[in-house]
Symmetry: C2
Subunit: 177 residues, 2 copies
């Protein structure tokens, strides 16, 4: 597969050519502030696009803008009415499908060796991802939790995952200016 | 220096012995939701303690609890009235002092080789860290930004930094069960 040259700083005009080959599917994210936070961080990490399914709010919404600060107008996104079909379509074009979920089969994110391009799924703030979506995933990935709580805020988890994928991608395919 | 054995999962009763040797100094953080988010992620990443200075709100506050979800009662924290003196005291006991700030001298976080223990400074959501605190730091660290915006939300930046430090610490000193 042809790899996109990676540069840590890019001219605005060439930004669309330099996205990280990572899509995020946000299924049933309850809070619009969390959706906006995903947009802002996705812009920073150069994420390819966001796929919004279930109850996840779509732009334009004031509550999304409040935390996205305009990133919702720059990061490509698309509504997804049938996430199962979308996942199968992405897999058919070569994407690894990974769920961020603490499950028995989950790999520690730091030990996960993703096969780019990757589509990463995030689910509901309390209930997580539905069983039927989890079963469709090639990989389950967990973020190590050292404290007494068993989860991070979903947007914080998103930030950890996006930048860890950027780090892994740079390590594998870095093209410096 | 004696290293704390690292375990990705720890019994609650021994949690205090297994903290990552990383303190965070939050100076002039405006939003209590951001402060709460720092507590929640700090619990997950096993951060040693939070130091709260300037206008940064201190627990107990309902707005902190709303995003910390109780982590503010588990992660050690202390108010700091004079951050300059606190930084010098930490440095005198062996801490590297690192600012998260995009400056001319900033290292990419993925290329930074911290010398644990580390104290990491985060500043105001809009204005960042004050010049006098920046000048006191051994290291400036930046998070790569590929998009058009030039910053992340401070709590998202915190999540990226905390987990990257956990990853680096595990790589250096991992003790597996």
């Amino acid at each position: 597969m042809e790899r996109i040259p990676f540069r840590a700083t890019t001219a605005a005009s060439s930004y669309t050519e330099l996205r990280l080959p990572v899509a995020l599917l946000l299924d049933n994210i309850r809070s619009m502030y969390n959706v906006g936070a995903f947009f802002r961080t996705a812009d920073g990490a150069g994420i390819e696009r966001l796929l919004l399914s279930g109850i996840t709010a779509r732009p334009p919404k004031n509550a999304i803008t409040k935390t996205a600060l305009g990133a919702e107008n720059r990061v490509p996104w698309q509504p997804v009415s049938d996430p199962r079909s979308e996942i199968e379509a992405l897999r058919a074009t070569g994407y690894e499908i990974a769920a961020i979920e603490t499950s028995d089969r989950a790999l520690d994110i730091f030990e996960w060796q993703p096969r780019f391009p990757v589509c990463v799924l995030f689910g509901h703030e309390v209930d997580g991802l539905s069983r039927d979506l989890l079963e469709l995933c090639d990989t389950h990935v967990r973020i190590p939790m050292l404290g007494l709580k068993h989860s991070l805020n979903v947007a914080s988890a998103g930030a950890v995952v996006m930048y860890e994928l950027l780090r892994k991608y740079k390590t594998l395919y870095c093209v410096t200016d």
